[in-house]
Subunit: 305 residues, 2 copies
Protein backbone atom coordinates (compact mmCIF):
# COMPACT_ATOMS: atom_id res chain seq x y z
CA UNK A 1 0.00 0.00 0.00
CA UNK A 2 1.26 3.50 -0.83
CA UNK A 3 2.14 5.36 2.35
CA UNK A 4 -0.37 8.13 1.69
CA UNK A 5 -3.13 5.54 1.66
CA UNK A 6 -1.96 4.34 5.06
CA UNK A 7 -2.37 7.89 6.31
CA UNK A 8 -5.84 8.09 4.86
CA UNK A 9 -6.80 5.01 6.86
CA UNK A 10 -6.41 6.91 10.12
CA UNK A 11 -9.92 8.37 10.05
CA UNK A 12 -11.42 4.90 9.89
CA UNK A 13 -9.31 3.75 12.82
CA UNK A 14 -11.08 6.33 15.00
CA UNK A 15 -14.19 4.16 14.65
CA UNK A 16 -12.34 1.05 15.78
CA UNK A 17 -14.69 -0.12 18.53
CA UNK A 18 -12.71 -2.79 20.36
CA UNK A 19 -12.23 -2.50 24.11
CA UNK A 20 -10.40 -4.43 26.80
CA UNK A 21 -12.49 -6.74 28.93
CA UNK A 22 -11.49 -5.30 32.30
CA UNK A 23 -13.36 -5.18 35.58
CA UNK A 24 -12.98 -2.08 37.72
CA UNK A 25 -10.94 -3.67 40.47
CA UNK A 26 -7.46 -2.47 39.56
CA UNK A 27 -4.98 -0.06 41.15
CA UNK A 28 -3.02 1.19 38.19
CA UNK A 29 -2.39 0.78 34.47
CA UNK A 30 0.97 0.16 32.85
CA UNK A 31 1.21 0.48 29.07
CA UNK A 32 4.32 -0.89 27.41
CA UNK A 33 5.37 -0.12 23.86
CA UNK A 34 8.26 1.26 21.81
CA UNK A 35 8.38 4.01 19.21
CA UNK A 36 5.31 4.15 17.00
CA UNK A 37 3.52 1.61 19.20
CA UNK A 38 4.57 3.30 22.44
CA UNK A 39 3.23 6.75 21.72
CA UNK A 40 -0.40 5.69 22.28
CA UNK A 41 0.25 4.96 25.96
CA UNK A 42 1.93 8.31 26.45
CA UNK A 43 -0.89 10.26 24.82
CA UNK A 44 -3.49 8.32 26.83
CA UNK A 45 -1.56 8.87 30.09
CA UNK A 46 -1.79 12.61 29.62
CA UNK A 47 -5.56 12.51 29.16
CA UNK A 48 -6.74 9.85 31.58
CA UNK A 49 -5.59 10.45 35.16
CA UNK A 50 -8.31 8.85 37.28
CA UNK A 51 -5.92 6.03 38.09
CA UNK A 52 -2.14 6.09 37.89
CA UNK A 53 -1.08 5.28 34.31
CA UNK A 54 2.53 4.55 33.39
CA UNK A 55 3.71 4.47 29.81
CA UNK A 56 7.00 2.59 29.57
CA UNK A 57 9.32 2.24 26.59
CA UNK A 58 12.15 0.05 27.79
CA UNK A 59 13.09 -3.56 28.67
CA UNK A 60 12.09 -3.62 32.32
CA UNK A 61 8.94 -3.09 34.35
CA UNK A 62 8.54 -1.08 37.56
CA UNK A 63 8.66 -3.07 40.83
CA UNK A 64 5.21 -1.98 41.95
CA UNK A 65 3.43 -4.06 39.31
CA UNK A 66 1.28 -6.79 40.88
CA UNK A 67 -2.01 -8.67 40.44
CA UNK A 68 -3.91 -5.38 40.75
CA UNK A 69 -2.11 -3.88 37.77
CA UNK A 70 -3.67 -3.73 34.33
CA UNK A 71 -0.74 -4.28 32.03
CA UNK A 72 -1.26 -3.47 28.35
CA UNK A 73 1.39 -4.37 25.78
CA UNK A 74 1.36 -2.52 22.48
CA UNK A 75 3.39 -3.86 19.58
CA UNK A 76 2.18 -3.65 16.03
CA UNK A 77 4.33 -6.55 14.83
CA UNK A 78 3.98 -8.41 18.10
CA UNK A 79 7.70 -9.11 18.06
CA UNK A 80 9.32 -6.02 19.60
CA UNK A 81 11.94 -7.46 21.95
CA UNK A 82 11.67 -4.76 24.62
CA UNK A 83 7.89 -5.11 24.79
CA UNK A 84 8.04 -8.91 24.92
CA UNK A 85 10.56 -8.64 27.75
CA UNK A 86 8.17 -6.46 29.79
CA UNK A 87 5.22 -8.78 29.13
CA UNK A 88 7.14 -11.80 30.38
CA UNK A 89 8.05 -9.90 33.55
CA UNK A 90 4.48 -8.67 34.08
CA UNK A 91 3.14 -12.21 33.72
CA UNK A 92 5.51 -13.45 36.41
CA UNK A 93 4.03 -10.84 38.72
CA UNK A 94 0.50 -11.98 37.89
CA UNK A 95 -0.58 -8.65 36.45
CA UNK A 96 -3.76 -8.61 34.35
CA UNK A 97 -2.08 -8.70 30.96
CA UNK A 98 -3.65 -7.43 27.74
CA UNK A 99 -2.25 -6.58 24.34
CA UNK A 100 -2.92 -4.80 21.08
CA UNK A 101 -1.11 -6.39 18.16
CA UNK A 102 -1.43 -7.68 14.63
CA UNK A 103 0.07 -11.02 15.63
CA UNK A 104 3.60 -12.28 16.28
CA UNK A 105 4.89 -13.57 19.58
CA UNK A 106 2.64 -11.24 21.54
CA UNK A 107 -0.51 -12.85 20.12
CA UNK A 108 0.93 -16.23 21.06
CA UNK A 109 1.69 -15.44 24.70
CA UNK A 110 -1.11 -13.00 25.66
CA UNK A 111 -4.54 -14.59 25.77
CA UNK A 112 -6.52 -11.33 26.01
CA UNK A 113 -5.36 -9.45 22.99
CA UNK A 114 -7.06 -7.15 20.54
CA UNK A 115 -6.15 -8.01 17.00
CA UNK A 116 -5.55 -5.19 14.55
CA UNK A 117 -5.07 -5.44 10.79
CA UNK A 118 -1.54 -6.20 9.59
CA UNK A 119 0.21 -4.84 6.52
CA UNK A 120 0.77 -1.18 7.37
CA UNK A 121 3.60 0.63 9.14
CA UNK A 122 3.32 0.44 12.95
CA UNK A 123 3.28 4.24 13.17
CA UNK A 124 0.32 4.36 10.79
CA UNK A 125 -1.72 2.26 13.24
CA UNK A 126 -1.85 4.87 15.99
CA UNK A 127 -5.65 4.98 15.89
CA UNK A 128 -5.87 1.21 16.41
CA UNK A 129 -3.61 1.60 19.43
CA UNK A 130 -5.36 4.60 20.94
CA UNK A 131 -9.02 3.74 20.53
CA UNK A 132 -9.16 0.60 22.70
CA UNK A 133 -7.72 2.71 25.53
CA UNK A 134 -10.29 5.47 25.05
CA UNK A 135 -13.14 2.97 24.53
CA UNK A 136 -12.30 1.11 27.73
CA UNK A 137 -11.43 3.84 30.20
CA UNK A 138 -13.04 7.11 29.09
CA UNK A 139 -16.44 8.41 28.08
CA UNK A 140 -15.35 9.49 24.63
CA UNK A 141 -18.44 8.81 22.52
CA UNK A 142 -19.67 8.47 18.95
CA UNK A 143 -20.25 12.19 18.64
CA UNK A 144 -16.58 12.84 19.48
CA UNK A 145 -15.52 10.19 17.02
CA UNK A 146 -17.70 11.61 14.25
CA UNK A 147 -16.24 15.08 14.76
CA UNK A 148 -12.71 13.70 14.55
CA UNK A 149 -13.62 11.61 11.51
CA UNK A 150 -15.01 14.60 9.62
CA UNK A 151 -11.97 16.74 10.36
CA UNK A 152 -9.58 14.03 9.18
CA UNK A 153 -11.66 13.40 6.12
CA UNK A 154 -11.34 17.07 5.19
CA UNK A 155 -7.58 16.92 5.65
CA UNK A 156 -7.43 13.86 3.42
CA UNK A 157 -9.34 15.73 0.71
CA UNK A 158 -7.00 18.69 0.75
CA UNK A 159 -3.80 19.16 2.67
CA UNK A 160 -2.07 21.54 0.30
CA UNK A 161 -1.52 24.02 3.11
CA UNK A 162 0.48 21.33 4.91
CA UNK A 163 2.44 20.53 1.78
CA UNK A 164 3.50 24.18 1.67
CA UNK A 165 4.79 23.91 5.23
CA UNK A 166 6.82 20.85 4.26
CA UNK A 167 8.31 22.75 1.36
CA UNK A 168 9.44 25.51 3.72
CA UNK A 169 11.38 22.96 5.73
CA UNK A 170 12.91 21.51 2.58
CA UNK A 171 13.94 24.86 1.12
CA UNK A 172 15.75 25.87 4.29
CA UNK A 173 16.88 22.45 5.51
CA UNK A 174 15.31 23.34 8.83
CA UNK A 175 15.44 21.29 11.99
CA UNK A 176 11.87 21.14 13.30
CA UNK A 177 11.30 21.90 16.97
CA UNK A 178 7.76 21.16 18.13
CA UNK A 179 6.27 22.69 21.26
CA UNK A 180 3.06 21.18 22.62
CA UNK A 181 1.15 21.65 25.83
CA UNK A 182 -1.20 19.57 27.95
CA UNK A 183 -3.11 17.44 26.97
CA UNK A 184 -1.19 17.34 23.69
CA UNK A 185 2.44 17.43 24.85
CA UNK A 186 3.06 13.91 23.59
CA UNK A 187 1.61 14.72 20.18
CA UNK A 188 4.59 17.05 19.81
CA UNK A 189 6.77 14.00 20.46
CA UNK A 190 4.76 12.09 17.86
CA UNK A 191 5.66 14.81 15.31
CA UNK A 192 9.32 14.44 16.23
CA UNK A 193 9.22 10.69 15.66
CA UNK A 194 7.37 11.10 12.36
CA UNK A 195 10.00 13.55 11.10
CA UNK A 196 12.62 10.95 12.13
CA UNK A 197 10.99 7.91 10.56
CA UNK A 198 9.21 9.38 7.54
CA UNK A 199 11.40 12.34 6.53
CA UNK A 200 14.66 10.97 7.97
CA UNK A 201 15.64 14.21 9.66
CA UNK A 202 16.38 14.98 13.30
CA UNK A 203 13.79 16.92 15.28
CA UNK A 204 12.83 17.34 18.90
CA UNK A 205 9.90 18.35 21.06
CA UNK A 206 9.18 20.05 24.37
CA UNK A 207 6.10 21.57 25.97
CA UNK A 208 4.73 24.66 27.68
CA UNK A 209 5.18 25.54 30.54
CA UNK A 210 8.23 23.28 31.12
CA UNK A 211 10.15 24.76 28.18
CA UNK A 212 9.89 28.20 29.78
CA UNK A 213 12.41 26.88 32.30
CA UNK A 214 15.03 25.72 29.79
CA UNK A 215 14.62 26.10 25.99
CA UNK A 216 13.50 29.67 26.49
CA UNK A 217 16.93 30.74 27.74
CA UNK A 218 18.51 29.45 24.52
CA UNK A 219 15.99 30.75 22.01
CA UNK A 220 17.55 34.14 21.59
CA UNK A 221 21.24 33.37 21.27
CA UNK A 222 21.59 29.75 20.22
CA UNK A 223 23.94 28.77 17.44
CA UNK A 224 22.43 28.98 13.97
CA UNK A 225 18.96 29.92 15.09
CA UNK A 226 18.00 30.49 11.46
CA UNK A 227 18.28 26.75 10.89
CA UNK A 228 15.42 25.82 13.23
CA UNK A 229 11.72 26.01 12.52
CA UNK A 230 9.42 26.20 15.51
CA UNK A 231 5.95 24.67 15.54
CA UNK A 232 3.71 25.49 18.48
CA UNK A 233 0.36 23.88 19.17
CA UNK A 234 -2.26 26.46 20.09
CA UNK A 235 -3.99 26.12 23.45
CA UNK A 236 -7.39 27.05 24.87
CA UNK A 237 -5.80 27.67 28.28
CA UNK A 238 -5.30 31.43 28.76
CA UNK A 239 -2.14 31.04 30.84
CA UNK A 240 -0.51 28.83 28.20
CA UNK A 241 -1.52 31.19 25.41
CA UNK A 242 0.02 34.04 27.37
CA UNK A 243 3.22 32.05 27.78
CA UNK A 244 3.35 31.30 24.06
CA UNK A 245 2.91 34.96 23.14
CA UNK A 246 5.37 36.32 25.67
CA UNK A 247 7.98 33.69 24.80
CA UNK A 248 7.70 34.55 21.12
CA UNK A 249 8.02 38.25 21.87
CA UNK A 250 10.93 38.30 24.29
CA UNK A 251 12.99 35.68 22.49
CA UNK A 252 12.22 37.18 19.08
CA UNK A 253 11.33 33.79 17.67
CA UNK A 254 8.94 33.02 14.86
CA UNK A 255 6.38 30.50 16.06
CA UNK A 256 4.33 28.62 13.49
CA UNK A 257 1.12 28.00 15.38
CA UNK A 258 -0.75 24.80 14.57
CA UNK A 259 -4.29 24.84 15.85
CA UNK A 260 -7.90 24.02 15.18
CA UNK A 261 -10.80 25.94 16.65
CA UNK A 262 -12.36 23.09 18.58
CA UNK A 263 -13.19 22.31 22.19
CA UNK A 264 -13.35 18.63 21.41
CA UNK A 265 -10.38 16.68 22.79
CA UNK A 266 -10.52 13.82 20.30
CA UNK A 267 -11.00 16.04 17.27
CA UNK A 268 -8.05 18.23 18.14
CA UNK A 269 -5.93 15.22 19.08
CA UNK A 270 -6.37 13.56 15.71
CA UNK A 271 -6.09 16.85 13.84
CA UNK A 272 -2.68 17.48 15.40
CA UNK A 273 -1.55 13.90 14.83
CA UNK A 274 -2.66 13.96 11.20
CA UNK A 275 -1.02 17.31 10.56
CA UNK A 276 2.31 15.88 11.73
CA UNK A 277 1.78 12.75 9.68
CA UNK A 278 1.21 14.75 6.48
CA UNK A 279 3.97 17.28 6.96
CA UNK A 280 6.55 14.54 7.56
CA UNK A 281 5.19 12.56 4.63
CA UNK A 282 5.23 15.49 2.22
CA UNK A 283 8.75 16.39 3.30
CA UNK A 284 9.86 12.85 2.48
CA UNK A 285 8.25 13.17 -0.96
CA UNK A 286 10.01 16.48 -1.66
CA UNK A 287 13.32 15.04 -0.42
CA UNK A 288 12.74 12.08 -2.72
CA UNK A 289 12.97 9.71 0.22
CA UNK A 290 10.77 6.67 0.80
CA UNK A 291 8.77 7.47 3.96
CA UNK A 292 8.14 3.75 4.47
CA UNK A 293 11.81 2.82 4.45
CA UNK A 294 12.93 1.75 7.92
CA UNK A 295 15.76 -0.43 6.67
CA UNK A 296 18.18 0.97 9.24
CA UNK A 297 15.96 -0.19 12.09
CA UNK A 298 15.59 -3.55 10.37
CA UNK A 299 19.36 -3.82 9.98
CA UNK A 300 19.79 -2.99 13.66
CA UNK A 301 17.32 -5.68 14.71
CA UNK A 302 19.11 -8.22 12.55
CA UNK A 303 22.49 -7.39 14.05
CA UNK A 304 21.02 -7.66 17.53
CA UNK A 305 19.85 -11.23 16.91
CA UNK B 1 28.92 33.56 44.42
CA UNK B 2 30.80 32.72 41.22
CA UNK B 3 28.96 30.05 39.30
CA UNK B 4 31.88 27.64 39.40
CA UNK B 5 31.74 27.74 43.18
CA UNK B 6 28.09 26.79 43.05
CA UNK B 7 29.10 23.77 40.99
CA UNK B 8 31.74 22.86 43.55
CA UNK B 9 29.08 22.83 46.26
CA UNK B 10 27.38 19.83 44.67
CA UNK B 11 29.62 17.28 46.38
CA UNK B 12 28.63 18.60 49.79
CA UNK B 13 24.96 18.41 48.89
CA UNK B 14 25.34 14.64 48.52
CA UNK B 15 25.82 14.53 52.30
CA UNK B 16 22.60 16.50 52.92
CA UNK B 17 20.92 14.19 55.41
CA UNK B 18 17.36 15.51 55.62
CA UNK B 19 14.48 13.15 55.02
CA UNK B 20 10.71 13.41 54.84
CA UNK B 21 8.80 12.29 57.91
CA UNK B 22 6.54 9.79 56.16
CA UNK B 23 4.87 6.64 57.44
CA UNK B 24 4.64 3.69 55.11
CA UNK B 25 0.92 3.83 54.57
CA UNK B 26 0.78 5.47 51.15
CA UNK B 27 -0.24 4.31 47.69
CA UNK B 28 1.80 6.50 45.42
CA UNK B 29 4.16 9.47 45.25
CA UNK B 30 3.69 12.56 43.11
CA UNK B 31 6.60 14.95 42.79
CA UNK B 32 5.88 18.38 41.35
CA UNK B 33 8.53 20.77 40.10
CA UNK B 34 9.57 22.77 37.06
CA UNK B 35 12.88 22.95 35.20
CA UNK B 36 15.90 22.79 37.49
CA UNK B 37 13.70 21.90 40.45
CA UNK B 38 11.65 19.36 38.52
CA UNK B 39 14.48 17.20 37.30
CA UNK B 40 15.03 15.60 40.73
CA UNK B 41 11.61 13.94 40.66
CA UNK B 42 12.23 12.57 37.19
CA UNK B 43 15.61 11.11 38.08
CA UNK B 44 14.19 9.60 41.27
CA UNK B 45 11.19 8.13 39.42
CA UNK B 46 13.52 6.20 37.16
CA UNK B 47 15.39 4.66 40.10
CA UNK B 48 12.70 4.00 42.69
CA UNK B 49 9.83 1.89 41.38
CA UNK B 50 8.54 0.07 44.47
CA UNK B 51 5.50 2.35 44.48
CA UNK B 52 4.12 4.35 41.56
CA UNK B 53 5.99 7.66 41.33
CA UNK B 54 4.82 10.48 39.08
CA UNK B 55 7.01 13.46 38.29
CA UNK B 56 4.87 16.33 37.02
CA UNK B 57 6.01 19.63 35.53
CA UNK B 58 2.81 21.53 34.81
CA UNK B 59 -0.05 23.47 36.43
CA UNK B 60 -2.44 20.63 37.17
CA UNK B 61 -2.39 17.44 39.19
CA UNK B 62 -3.67 14.01 38.15
CA UNK B 63 -7.19 13.08 39.30
CA UNK B 64 -6.05 9.98 41.20
CA UNK B 65 -4.34 12.00 43.95
CA UNK B 66 -6.03 11.44 47.31
CA UNK B 67 -5.27 11.15 51.05
CA UNK B 68 -3.06 8.11 50.36
CA UNK B 69 -0.80 10.11 48.03
CA UNK B 70 2.54 11.47 49.17
CA UNK B 71 2.79 14.77 47.34
CA UNK B 72 6.21 16.44 47.26
CA UNK B 73 6.60 19.95 45.88
CA UNK B 74 10.04 21.05 44.74
CA UNK B 75 10.73 24.70 44.11
CA UNK B 76 14.01 26.29 44.96
CA UNK B 77 12.59 29.80 45.22
CA UNK B 78 9.32 28.56 46.66
CA UNK B 79 7.45 30.85 44.30
CA UNK B 80 7.16 28.90 41.05
CA UNK B 81 3.57 29.51 39.95
CA UNK B 82 3.01 26.10 38.34
CA UNK B 83 4.28 24.29 41.45
CA UNK B 84 2.20 26.44 43.82
CA UNK B 85 -0.85 25.72 41.66
CA UNK B 86 -0.30 21.94 42.04
CA UNK B 87 0.25 22.20 45.81
CA UNK B 88 -3.00 24.07 46.30
CA UNK B 89 -4.84 21.40 44.33
CA UNK B 90 -3.14 18.56 46.23
CA UNK B 91 -4.08 20.13 49.55
CA UNK B 92 -7.72 20.28 48.52
CA UNK B 93 -7.56 16.55 47.92
CA UNK B 94 -6.03 15.96 51.35
CA UNK B 95 -2.83 14.45 50.02
CA UNK B 96 0.12 14.20 52.43
CA UNK B 97 1.95 17.30 51.26
CA UNK B 98 5.69 17.88 51.67
CA UNK B 99 8.10 20.33 50.10
CA UNK B 100 11.74 21.10 49.48
CA UNK B 101 12.41 24.81 49.19
CA UNK B 102 14.57 27.69 50.33
CA UNK B 103 11.50 29.68 51.38
CA UNK B 104 8.93 31.75 49.50
CA UNK B 105 5.25 31.00 49.31
CA UNK B 106 5.86 27.26 49.46
CA UNK B 107 7.42 27.52 52.93
CA UNK B 108 4.43 29.54 54.02
CA UNK B 109 1.76 27.11 52.89
CA UNK B 110 3.40 23.70 53.40
CA UNK B 111 3.96 22.80 57.05
CA UNK B 112 6.22 19.81 56.41
CA UNK B 113 8.98 21.27 54.33
CA UNK B 114 12.70 20.71 54.17
CA UNK B 115 14.55 23.97 54.09
CA UNK B 116 17.59 24.26 51.84
CA UNK B 117 20.13 27.09 51.68
CA UNK B 118 19.17 30.06 49.53
CA UNK B 119 21.47 32.17 47.36
CA UNK B 120 22.42 29.82 44.53
CA UNK B 121 20.83 29.06 41.18
CA UNK B 122 17.95 26.55 41.46
CA UNK B 123 19.68 24.22 39.01
CA UNK B 124 22.79 24.21 41.22
CA UNK B 125 20.73 22.79 44.09
CA UNK B 126 20.00 19.43 42.44
CA UNK B 127 21.73 17.55 45.29
CA UNK B 128 19.54 19.24 47.88
CA UNK B 129 16.49 18.20 45.86
CA UNK B 130 17.59 14.61 45.21
CA UNK B 131 18.99 13.54 48.56
CA UNK B 132 15.83 13.84 50.69
CA UNK B 133 14.14 11.52 48.17
CA UNK B 134 16.96 8.97 48.34
CA UNK B 135 17.27 9.30 52.13
CA UNK B 136 13.57 8.70 52.66
CA UNK B 137 12.70 5.99 50.19
CA UNK B 138 15.85 4.04 49.30
CA UNK B 139 18.70 2.23 51.04
CA UNK B 140 21.40 4.43 49.56
CA UNK B 141 23.95 4.63 52.38
CA UNK B 142 27.00 6.53 53.59
CA UNK B 143 29.33 4.33 51.62
CA UNK B 144 27.50 5.24 48.40
CA UNK B 145 27.59 8.90 49.34
CA UNK B 146 31.31 8.79 50.11
CA UNK B 147 32.04 7.22 46.74
CA UNK B 148 30.05 9.91 44.97
CA UNK B 149 31.68 12.63 47.05
CA UNK B 150 35.19 11.44 46.19
CA UNK B 151 34.43 11.27 42.48
CA UNK B 152 32.98 14.78 42.44
CA UNK B 153 35.86 16.10 44.48
CA UNK B 154 38.26 14.76 41.86
CA UNK B 155 36.28 16.43 39.11
CA UNK B 156 36.36 19.70 41.01
CA UNK B 157 40.16 19.44 41.28
CA UNK B 158 40.64 18.91 37.59
CA UNK B 159 38.09 18.98 34.82
CA UNK B 160 40.38 20.05 31.98
CA UNK B 161 39.24 17.07 29.90
CA UNK B 162 35.70 18.44 30.11
CA UNK B 163 36.86 21.93 29.19
CA UNK B 164 38.33 20.44 26.01
CA UNK B 165 34.96 18.92 25.16
CA UNK B 166 33.32 22.31 25.62
CA UNK B 167 35.86 23.85 23.29
CA UNK B 168 34.98 21.31 20.62
CA UNK B 169 31.36 22.43 20.76
CA UNK B 170 32.38 26.08 20.58
CA UNK B 171 34.74 25.64 17.65
CA UNK B 172 32.10 23.92 15.56
CA UNK B 173 28.98 25.63 16.92
CA UNK B 174 27.57 22.17 17.48
CA UNK B 175 24.09 21.35 18.67
CA UNK B 176 24.50 18.80 21.46
CA UNK B 177 22.34 15.68 21.35
CA UNK B 178 22.55 13.58 24.51
CA UNK B 179 21.58 9.92 24.60
CA UNK B 180 21.12 8.29 28.00
CA UNK B 181 19.70 4.97 29.11
CA UNK B 182 18.03 3.59 32.21
CA UNK B 183 18.50 4.50 35.08
CA UNK B 184 20.14 7.65 33.72
CA UNK B 185 17.80 8.67 30.88
CA UNK B 186 16.73 11.80 32.73
CA UNK B 187 20.33 12.83 33.35
CA UNK B 188 20.54 13.23 29.58
CA UNK B 189 17.62 15.65 29.88
CA UNK B 190 19.46 17.43 32.71
CA UNK B 191 22.37 17.98 30.28
CA UNK B 192 19.97 19.43 27.72
CA UNK B 193 18.58 21.90 30.25
CA UNK B 194 22.07 22.87 31.44
CA UNK B 195 23.13 23.61 27.85
CA UNK B 196 19.97 25.73 27.56
CA UNK B 197 20.31 27.67 30.79
CA UNK B 198 24.08 27.91 31.22
CA UNK B 199 25.40 27.98 27.65
CA UNK B 200 22.26 29.45 26.04
CA UNK B 201 22.20 26.99 23.16
CA UNK B 202 19.53 24.57 22.05
CA UNK B 203 20.09 20.88 22.73
CA UNK B 204 17.94 17.79 23.13
CA UNK B 205 18.04 14.35 24.67
CA UNK B 206 16.67 10.87 24.06
CA UNK B 207 17.50 7.40 25.39
CA UNK B 208 18.30 3.84 24.37
CA UNK B 209 16.41 1.70 23.44
CA UNK B 210 13.57 4.16 22.58
CA UNK B 211 15.74 6.18 20.20
CA UNK B 212 16.36 3.06 18.14
CA UNK B 213 12.74 3.43 17.06
CA UNK B 214 12.97 7.04 15.85
CA UNK B 215 16.21 9.09 15.97
CA UNK B 216 18.08 6.15 14.48
CA UNK B 217 16.24 6.47 11.18
CA UNK B 218 17.38 10.08 10.85
CA UNK B 219 20.99 9.71 11.97
CA UNK B 220 22.35 8.83 8.57
CA UNK B 221 20.69 11.32 6.28
CA UNK B 222 19.52 14.24 8.38
CA UNK B 223 20.16 17.79 7.28
CA UNK B 224 23.54 19.19 8.33
CA UNK B 225 24.59 16.18 10.35
CA UNK B 226 28.04 17.72 10.75
CA UNK B 227 26.49 20.37 12.98
CA UNK B 228 25.43 17.95 15.71
CA UNK B 229 27.60 16.45 18.43
CA UNK B 230 26.39 13.23 20.01
CA UNK B 231 27.04 12.36 23.63
CA UNK B 232 26.14 8.86 24.75
CA UNK B 233 26.20 7.64 28.34
CA UNK B 234 27.92 4.25 28.65
CA UNK B 235 25.89 1.39 30.12
CA UNK B 236 26.68 -1.77 32.08
CA UNK B 237 23.75 -3.53 30.42
CA UNK B 238 25.07 -5.74 27.59
CA UNK B 239 21.98 -5.29 25.41
CA UNK B 240 22.18 -1.49 25.65
CA UNK B 241 25.91 -1.53 24.91
CA UNK B 242 25.21 -3.66 21.86
CA UNK B 243 22.57 -1.18 20.73
CA UNK B 244 24.95 1.73 21.16
CA UNK B 245 27.67 0.02 19.14
CA UNK B 246 25.42 -1.17 16.35
CA UNK B 247 23.67 2.20 16.08
CA UNK B 248 27.02 3.96 15.78
CA UNK B 249 28.18 1.52 13.13
CA UNK B 250 25.15 1.39 10.85
CA UNK B 251 24.34 5.09 11.01
CA UNK B 252 28.01 6.07 10.68
CA UNK B 253 27.75 8.47 13.58
CA UNK B 254 30.50 9.52 15.94
CA UNK B 255 29.39 8.90 19.50
CA UNK B 256 31.24 10.64 22.31
CA UNK B 257 30.84 8.16 25.14
CA UNK B 258 30.61 9.57 28.65
CA UNK B 259 31.15 6.93 31.31
CA UNK B 260 32.75 6.04 34.59
CA UNK B 261 33.80 2.52 35.52
CA UNK B 262 31.54 2.11 38.52
CA UNK B 263 28.77 -0.22 39.62
CA UNK B 264 27.57 2.32 42.14
CA UNK B 265 24.32 4.00 41.14
CA UNK B 266 24.84 7.19 43.13
CA UNK B 267 28.44 7.67 42.10
CA UNK B 268 27.66 7.32 38.41
CA UNK B 269 24.55 9.49 38.76
CA UNK B 270 26.46 12.41 40.21
CA UNK B 271 29.40 11.89 37.89
CA UNK B 272 27.12 12.21 34.86
CA UNK B 273 25.28 15.20 36.35
CA UNK B 274 28.52 16.98 37.20
CA UNK B 275 30.02 16.30 33.79
CA UNK B 276 27.03 18.02 32.18
CA UNK B 277 27.25 20.89 34.64
CA UNK B 278 30.89 21.53 33.81
CA UNK B 279 30.66 21.16 30.07
CA UNK B 280 27.76 23.63 29.89
CA UNK B 281 29.55 25.99 32.26
CA UNK B 282 32.83 25.90 30.34
CA UNK B 283 31.00 26.45 27.07
CA UNK B 284 29.40 29.56 28.55
CA UNK B 285 32.83 30.81 29.60
CA UNK B 286 34.28 30.25 26.14
CA UNK B 287 31.25 31.93 24.53
CA UNK B 288 31.75 34.83 26.93
CA UNK B 289 28.24 34.38 28.26
CA UNK B 290 27.19 34.63 31.91
CA UNK B 291 26.03 31.12 32.87
CA UNK B 292 24.03 32.58 35.76
CA UNK B 293 22.05 34.96 33.58
CA UNK B 294 18.42 33.89 33.37
CA UNK B 295 17.10 37.36 32.66
CA UNK B 296 14.84 36.12 29.88
CA UNK B 297 13.03 33.80 32.29
CA UNK B 298 12.79 36.65 34.79
CA UNK B 299 11.38 38.93 32.10
CA UNK B 300 8.83 36.29 31.18
CA UNK B 301 7.72 35.90 34.79
CA UNK B 302 7.33 39.65 35.12
CA UNK B 303 5.20 39.90 31.99
CA UNK B 304 3.05 37.03 33.24
CA UNK B 305 2.20 38.90 36.44
Amino acid sequence: MAFINELKMLKDQIKFDKRFDINNDFDNIVISGMGGSGIAGRIFQEYYTKKPVFAISDYDIPDFINEKTVFIAMSYSGNTEETISTVEQAMKKNAMVFAVTSGGKLAAIVKNYIEIPSGIQPRSAIGYMLMPLFNTFTDINDDDKNKAYTTLNNMDQDHDYIKKEAYKIYENSYMPVIYGSSPYSWVAYRWKTQFNENSKILAYSNYFPELNHNDTMALKNTYRKERFIFYVFGSKKPRITQRINITREITETEFNVIDIDSDNYLEKLFYLIHYGDYISYELAMIRNIDPMDVSIIEELKKKLD
